[in-house]
């Protein structure tokens, strides 16, 4: 085991279809919310199975991405996203699995490096991840951290994670975790190419700055925010991406959130969705559905209205790479969620793909995929670090040479 020569990686390349210019997909925050029209709240087990069903449906209807949240408190089920994502990866062929978001503040960056490299191997590279800081105060003390250090934690932890995927042996000392001496994070990234990372932020210019510094993607989860704010954040990221020499501002990698509810006629859509909007913990008892729709990307109406609204997003933020929709919100039953994904996949996204391809400059990069990143790296390589000896076989460790 220890003395085998490195052999070329033999995994199949990512699906045969060419990578899309823009990826469309669905994200879920994994909440258990009561259906206000029936008074019924699904069990954790039902929602966990529903997430899998949603992910498979996303692939079935021709969408590209399924992203799952991470939370460590009720009413959310998804404390351990890589387990779920690996399970989905095993049952899909083309789908890219991602997160929305991975807590870079309270997770040990070493564990993130290990977990997501593992997912990268098992999914044959059909994964990336989005860093976030989390929105629940107590999650910080639950994991031994302090919310007042939110930004410094995001900065330091990601700096370590970034190195763990790029350097075979890492020496590290920081403010927030135990120092590391001669540490190798395993498994090494598939093909020697680290997973693509998005940095998600709603309000913090520091995170846009961070994404720009590394040349990573920036995802503005704008579902509760007006487009002028989204524009401000994305413009900052684009400008700083260029400043740090990763390309021109329009070559920065941008993702947006959104949420929609569709029926053939807009009146039917509004009638059906209103009780969900009015009672949902995240929407209800504030602005009306109409006000909220005006101020945020929430679009309740016909498929054509959704197409018109989302085809116009690039007028504000420039040509972008990833559009994720929140579909399973406000307590909507699974059956309805699957219908909505069907409409997205068959009526909305094919049109959006065509419309958004028009006038998209050739220099704007396509959505990032593992295959494209391997190609950009000049081909894949086996990145395995072979140890000379180990404690299990009882052989004396050889001196470390570097």
């Amino acid at each position: 085991m220890s003395d085998q020569p490195a052999s070329a990686s033999t995994h199949p390349s990512q699906g045969a279809a060419p990578a899309p210019q823009m990826q469309f997909g669905v994200f879920t925050v994994s909440d258990l919310t009561q259906d206000p029209t029936t008074g019924r709240t699904p069990s954790e087990h039902e929602r966990i199975r529903a997430a899998v069903a949603i992910a498979k449906k996303v692939e079935e209807v021709g969408l590209d991405v399924f992203a799952l949240g991470e939370h460590h408190n009720p009413p959310f089920f998804s404390s351990s996203p890589t387990t779920t994502l690996a399970y989905v990866a095993a049952q899909t062929e083309r789908l890219t699995l991602s997160t929305a978001t991975t807590l870079i503040t309270t997770n040990d960056p070493v564990k993130i490096a290990e977990d997501y490299a593992m997912l990268q191997h098992l999914s044959e590279g059909r994964m990336d991840l989005m860093m976030g800081r989390g929105n629940t105060g107590p999650v910080y003390p639950w994991f031994g951290q302090d919310i007042r250090n939110g930004i410094p934690l995001a900065v330091e932890n990601y700096a370590l994670l970034h190195r763990l995927w790029r350097e075979d042996v890492v020496d590290w000392e920081g403010r927030f975790r135990t120092p590391l001496q001669s540490f190798t994070s395993t498994p090494r990234p598939l093909d020697g190419v680290p997973p693509f990372v998005w940095h998600g932020s709603i309000r913090s210019p520091e995170i846009a700055e961070q994404a720009a510094y590394y040349g990573d993607g920036f995802f503005h989860n704008n579902i509760f925010w007006p487009i002028h704010h989204t524009k401000q954040m994305v413009q900052l990221y684009r400008r700083r991406f260029e400043h740090y020499g990763h390309g021109s501002a329009d070559q920065a990698i941008v993702g947006l959130g959104g949420q929609v509810f569709m029926r053939k006629s807009s009146q039917d859509a509004v009638r059906e969705f209103r009780p969900y909007f009015d009672n949902a913990p995240v929407y209800g008892h504030g602005p009306s559905l109409e006000e909220f729709s005006e101020m945020t990307p929430l679009t309740v109406g016909s498929p054509q209205q959704v197409i018109d609204r989302y085809a116009a997003m690039r007028d504000h933020v420039g040509d972008y790479q990833r559009q994720l929709f929140l579909i399973d919100h406000a307590g909507l039953p699974l059956e309805t969620v699957l219908e909505q994904i069907e409409i997205l996949g068959t009526e909305v996204v094919p049109v959006l793909r065509k419309e958004l391809a028009v006038g998209r400059p050739a220099r704007v990069p396509d959505a990032p995929t593992h295959a494209a990143r391997v190609e950009a790296a000049g081909g894949g390589r086996d990145a395995t670090v072979y140890a000379d000896a180990d404690g299990v076989t009882g052989r004396a460790p050889a001196p470390v040479t570097r």
């Binding site: 410094p152 210019p205 520091e206 007006p226 900052l236 504030g286 602005p287 909220f292």
Partner: protein
Amino acid sequence: MSAPRRLVVVSAGMSQPSSTRLLADRLTEATVAALTSRSVPVEVTVVELREHAHDLTNMLLTGFATPELQRVLDATVAADGIVAVTPVYSGSYTGLFKTFFDVIDDGALAGVPTLIAATAGTPRHSLALEHAVRPLLSYLRAVTVPTAVFGATEDFGATAGRAASDGTPPLAARVDRAAEELAGLVAAREPRQVADPFADPTPFDQLLRGDT
């Protein structure tokens, strides 16, 4: 003439017209006069919180302001001086007055000269300014002027220029004194430059070093 200063007047009166707005207007006129006498031009923006009550509640729930409310918040955090006037309800500022200051970003009013004032039906509420309004503005690190102006209903019926039976100077005299104090602080400071974190982010190497 020196550079123009921006004065924002926040009035939390509920009725229209309200005695709170009356007091706010008197304080505004006196402050403008005091600045003008110092050759300092001033632009005044009056914010009637009543008009933004729904938007303020929605902002508590959604986290973002409507474009109209955002303009008001932007004007407030860019002010060179603030006049903040609230009615006294249940012994303190009104919920609406507090909500307005609740949705302003931490530190955004630090160092801003501020005149606090209140109205009520009875002079027995006058210390609400000292035990409630001033600590709120102190928390926000605004610089409150020493004279806080309290106007009870009876002040509006008092004889001009004559002290009350307990020796309190007349309302007009208190208004002028507070306005002088505010104008003095505003005129002594350079016009404020509000940093835009989107235009001018903290460079990443600074963030990496742990500086923010």
